[in-house]
């Protein structure tokens, strides 16, 4: 158990390091920074720009800049955003709250839809329910988040008379719904498929032979083993949710991590871009680790395998 945690921890650390190196190198090699724009301004002299470059440490070679950034990042200091003029870490923390809420709501919607529906589908083996689940999987899997977000915007514009109140609860849930569509299809496909497979296993036959009624067979014996793949998928889809939040947030005008990333890219605010990339990759690694941990808790056999 501890060995597993330690290995996961090291793996995650390596991944985050790799990502930061690659992003930093790309940003560095492409050249151009927040000061490039100042250069076009005739009122600012060459000397001022040189001085600014020294202040921000931009005259140092790439490797030194990277290690300087890294040593700051370890202590939680991600530098100062060149566009917003505030420390990156504070900015990222503040904005991530709203994205976190949105993502949680999206996961909640997907789970409350997928789990009962799969259970009903397995309990009452009717063709209509199976066809409905199939259709729902197809539709939610192939409706892009951007389309859903735009439709949500159109609906809210129709409902409200003049302006769209971005803080309204209706809009929040619409945004969460748009974000959750691919999750619904992933959870539904995985959980329903797994349940169907498990219902044909021998231990289910045994449970039935004991005289348990069908609902008890499903709830007590089939759900638990079927839950593990869902946990894997949930952990893996975290990246998709964070990526999708960029679109959903900017379409619906929410202030979150996604919109922060967009403004950082547009302003070529390198410290901020680096900070967000670091933050999101850490969050994703944490999510994956959590998903795996829950799996081990759920399935004791994994512990014996030394996983």
């Amino acid at each position: 158990m501890i060995k597993l945690l330690l290995r996961k921890w090291l793996q995650g650390l390596m991944m985050i390091l790799c990502v930061s190196v690659v992003t930093f190198a790309l940003l560095g090699f492409a050249g151009g920074d927040a000061l490039t724009r100042l250069r076009d301004n005739p009122q600012i002299s060459e000397e001022t720009i040189e001085r600014l470059r020294r202040v921000y440490g931009l005259d140092q070679p790439l490797v030194i800049r990277y290690f300087r950034w890294l040593s700051g990042a370890v202590t939680g200091d991600l530098g100062e955003s060149t566009y917003f003029r505030v420390p990156v870490s504070g900015l990222v923390w503040a904005r991530s709250v709203s994205t976190f809420l949105l993502g949680t709501a999206a996961f909640a919607i997907a789970l409350t839809l997928a789990v009962p529906l799969s259970l009903i589908g397995v309990r009452y083996k009717s063709k209509t329910i199976a066809a409905f689940i199939d259709l729902l999987i197809l539709v939610t899997a192939s409706t892009p988040r951007i389309v859903l977000a735009l439709v949500a915007l159109a609906i809210s514009v129709r409902l409200a008379s003049f302006t769209v109140d971005t803080s309204s609860l209706v809009l929040f849930w619409l945004a969460a719904l748009a974000l959750s569509a691919p999750l619904i299809s992933a959870f539904l496909a995985q959980f329903h498929g797994e349940l169907q497979r498990i219902m044909r296993e021998d231990f289910i036959k045994l449970a039935r032979a004991k005289g348990l009624n069908e609902s008890a067979v499903i709830l007590r014996h089939a759900v638990r083993p079927a839950l593990n793949p869902v946990l894997t998928i949930a952990g893996l889809s975290l990246g998709g949710v964070l990526g999708g939040s960029v679109i959903v947030e900017s379409v619906l005008g929410r202030q979150g991590l996604g919109t922060l990333m967009v403004s950082a890219v547009r302003a070529r605010d390198l410290p901020l871009v680096m900070g967000i990339v670091l933050f999101t990759s850490t969050a994703i690694w944490l999510g994956n680790a959590l998903g795996e941990l829950l799996q081990v808790v759920n399935d004791k056999r994994l512990r014996d395998l030394g996983f």
């Binding site: 793996q11 390596m14 991944m15 790799c18 990502v19 992003t23 790309l26 940003l27 090699f29 492409a30 151009g32 197809l138 899997a141 192939s142 409706t143 892009p144 951007i146 389309v147 735009l150 439709v151 915007l153 159109a154 514009v157 129709r158 302006t163 769209v164 893996l236 990246g239 998709g240 964070l242 990526g243 999708g244 960029v246 679109i247 900017s250 379409v251 990333m261 967009v262 950082a264 890219v265 547009r266 070529r268 390198l270 871009v273 967000i276 990339v277 999101t280 990759s281 994703i284 690694w285 994956n288």
Partner: protein
């Protein structure tokens, strides 16, 4: 490919007198389709009325602005348009016009052309890289395998869109169309190979132990030849299905980038930057269908690809 032929107007041609016009209604006068010219009723409210006293017939194969068919033959024949003798004709805007008075239908066609070409080539690139890495990983030794698959896992775990935006931040904001297309291709190849690599590796590993491969190795066939002549043809169908499912992913990435203003830029039309019109809430309220027509096109594309993918798997 045939956008020039299908589109009645040039995608960048503006008619400033008719911004945000609604879609032209086509009337039928004893089987001949006709349209009426429209007048601006109110400049600020952007309302239009039809002038029913004059009528212009709509016809097929009408002459309009000139373009190059398939990039070679220069012609000015379009699939449909308004027939006129005097040279001045009202415009037929099937989906209305945008804020600058450009024909939305024509722009949509050109945008589709750009998006589809970039996505297709992007998928080809990414698949090639993915198959190479996956094949190598599945066939070469343990050390290479561990390293490559570690990289693949890291790649898969990352939020693709944020990664794409990160790569995008490294390049100047405003780019001409060809450079933007090249950049998109580069981004797709950089971020899209991981899934392909994972699948290829799994398939190669399973095929390595099959009798005919072992037979080939026993006959002294070289490693590269085994990989490319014996294994690759067998796993190609599965890879093709997977590549097909990559299409919507890339199309959506293009749409997202352009929507956020960091992909293809005005005046070139793309599905994404056409959708930014939705931020004009007044227009979104009055003509939701026209404004969201690019979104509808995207939806049809993703749904279609998924249905084809389903059919292939069966």
């Amino acid at each position: 490919m045939f956008a020039g032929f299908l589109a009645p107007y040039d995608y960048s041609a503006q008619s400033r007198s008719e911004p945000s016009a609604p879609a032209t209604t086509i009337h039928f006068n004893s089987l001949t389709p006709i349209i009426h010219p429209r007048r601006v009723e109110d400049q600020l409210q952007r309302t239009y009325t039809e002038d029913t006293s004059v009528a212009f017939p709509v016809g097929f194969f009408v002459r309009g602005y000139s373009y190059k068919l398939l990039g070679i033959a220069e012609t000015d024949v379009h699939l449909f348009g308004v027939r006129t003798t005097s040279g001045i004709a009202p415009k037929i805007n099937l989906l209305g016009t945008d804020q600058l008075g450009r024909d939305r239908f024509s722009r949509l066609l050109y945008a589709l052309r750009f998006s589809l070409v970039v996505t297709l080539i992007g998928v080809l690139f990414a698949s090639l890289v993915g198959i190479l890495i996956g094949g190598l990983s599945g066939y070469a030794g343990r050390f290479v395998d561990t390293f490559l698959m570690g990289a693949t896992d890291a790649m898969l775990a990352l939020p693709t869109l944020i990664l794409i935006l990160g790569v995008r931040a490294a390049f100047p904001l405003e780019l001409p169309i060809t450079r933007a297309a090249l950049l998109l291709l580069l981004i797709f190849a950089l971020t899209g190979w991981a899934e392909m690599a994972r699948l290829t590796r799994g398939l190669v590993l399973s095929f390595r132990k099959r009798e005919f491969v072992i037979a080939a190795v026993a006959l002294g066939v070289s490693q590269t030849r085994v990989l490319f002549r014996h294994i690759l043809p067998n796993i190609l169908p599965s890879l093709r299905t997977r590549a097909l499912l990559l299409l919507p992913t890339f199309l959506l990435a293009e749409v997202a980038l352009s929507y956020l203003g960091v992909g293809l830029q005005e005046p070139e039309p793309s599905l994404g930057n056409m959708l930014t019109a939705a931020s004009d809430l007044d227009q979104l309220r009055s003509q939701p269908f026209s404004v969201l027509s690019p979104a509808l096109a995207v939806l049809f594309f993703t749904l279609g690809v998924r249905l084809i993918g389903r059919g292939e798997r069966l």
